[in-house]
Amino acid sequence: MLDMEIDTGDTAWVLVSAALVLLMTPGLALFYGGMVRSKSVLNMMLMSFASLGVIGVLWVLFGYSMTFGSSVGNARIVGNPLEYLGLEGLMSPDAVAGTVPALAFVSFQAVFAIIAVALISGAIADRAKFGTWIVFTVVWATLVYFPVAHWVFAFDATDDAGAVTTYGGWIANSVQALDFAGGTAIHINAGAAALALALVVGKRIGFAKEPMRPHNLPLVMLGAGLLWFGWFGFNAGSALGANTLASVAFVNTIVATSAAILGWLLLERLRDGHPTSLGAASGVVAGLVAITPAANSVSPVGALVIGLVAGVACAAAVGLKYRFGYDDSLDVVGVHLVGGLVGTLLIGFLAHPQSPAEVAGLFYGGGFDQLGRQAIGAFAVLVYSFVVTLLIALLLKAVMGWRVPAEAESDGIDGDQHAESGYDLHPLRGGSGMIATATAAGSTRATSAEAAPTKSEELA
């Protein structure tokens, strides 16, 4: 923690940004929820809400400390979980991160961790035991997200003489890959984890044979809108101040996303014949993912190129699961892994020397230097996340099991795991359910029902 003056404008923006990013996770729940069949909408949305519960608690207990505590043994691998255990010491007015109170920074980063975990759930729609998912979120955040976020987001703190006083992560400080708001730490990370998880959990019954149409596309579009809105906090908020840097990230977050919508729709029109609403909503997310690492290092025109490439690349990549036969149900790999790679690697080409990052990419005479750094950062996170997630998922498969019974999956996981239905579209079913509950509770209603004549008495 540098000893700096707190700026009220910066603090206000970071706190508002944290709230914006928090809204992304319920937005993601809508985006994902609309894409599954109606019989499993609640389970889908609940997986995101589970992350809101679990990760919010872990972050305060030891997650923040593992991510932003000083590196254990100065090794740049993981922060010291004991340094800020339970956010110890951070309520002091002297606890400052940059120009904002440490707890404003803690809040902002908490909501990043929450959505990183929630993103993965799209890979295992309709079929995973809720309890196993909860345990997975705890283990994955601890072994994968917190360390990787430390690698990417924890910068060294130095004293006036320039000597390192607090050691951060290796990708940020040794490799110096540019990742402004989490193209590697969040999107490549979650995308690679999603691939590993989809492989271990296995395909849904009827995958690629039965129609699995999205049951509510307006919900998907509402979710995409909320994600975009919240993403201004994600990217512009990552400036950690109300300043030019935030404004550059903000405009890049507009133009890349707009271009990605066009890219996705164009590919659909040429390949499938129709531009679709699901394509537009998916294009929004693809563009947002791709501009996330690059929001501070490219010009608005560079952002436009990144968005367009991401829209086309992700629209092409979502078909891969049918070719290779893995059931990444809602295309976390096709959108987040591919989009994250597009954005992270294109920085190597498009980084603009006059951008706030002040780095020149290949197209601006910077040579291959930055591209190499970007590639190392991207692939290190990809490989680590994939391998460790694979091990976690296999362990949980052996200990708890991932799949609900086949019959429960066919009938709809909502009833089996949560004893709820997303929609009351069949009033008759709802009615008989109420009476059964009343009988079980021994209410007066059940007693009066017993007193009524039975069918045979009436006939007699």
């Binding site: 499938d272 129709h274 629209a315």
Partner: protein
């Protein structure tokens, strides 16, 4: 008495209902149905994955009529439901033994 059942295109319901009302039919039941005949289904594409949708949304209209009205009612429905394009539906009639109005206990044609 006859039970006339018609499977029609959803958009034709309003003109069918209008015509039957003008004819003097005072009640009917409609439900949403899905099915296919010669029309078959259509295809939809989601994120590049193409699905064939076999069952197409239709309206099932049921109306109880007195025997002498049956032929006229069938003709009215056919006239109003026809667009001339494939998928216009079907109309059929079956005899009905008993009809009771629940509120009053009226039976037979009185209950219609």
């Amino acid at each position: 008495m006859k039970l006339i059942t018609a499977i029609i295109k959803p958009h034709q319901l309003e003109s069918v209902r209008d015509a039957l009302e003008r004819f003097g039919i005072s009640g009917m039941t409609v439900s949403e149905a899905s099915g296919y005949g010669r029309q078959r289904g259509h295809s939809e594409v989601y994120r590049g994955a193409e699905y064939t949708v076999d069952f197409i949304p239709k309206i099932r209209l049921e109306v109880l009529v007195d025997e002498p009205d049956a032929a006229n009612v069938i003709n009215l429905i056919v006239q109003q439901a026809r667009t001339g394009r494939i998928g216009d539906g079907k109309v059929w009639a079956v005899p009905v033994d008993e009809v009771v109005r629940v509120r009053t206990g009226d039976r037979g044609p009185e209950a219609l």
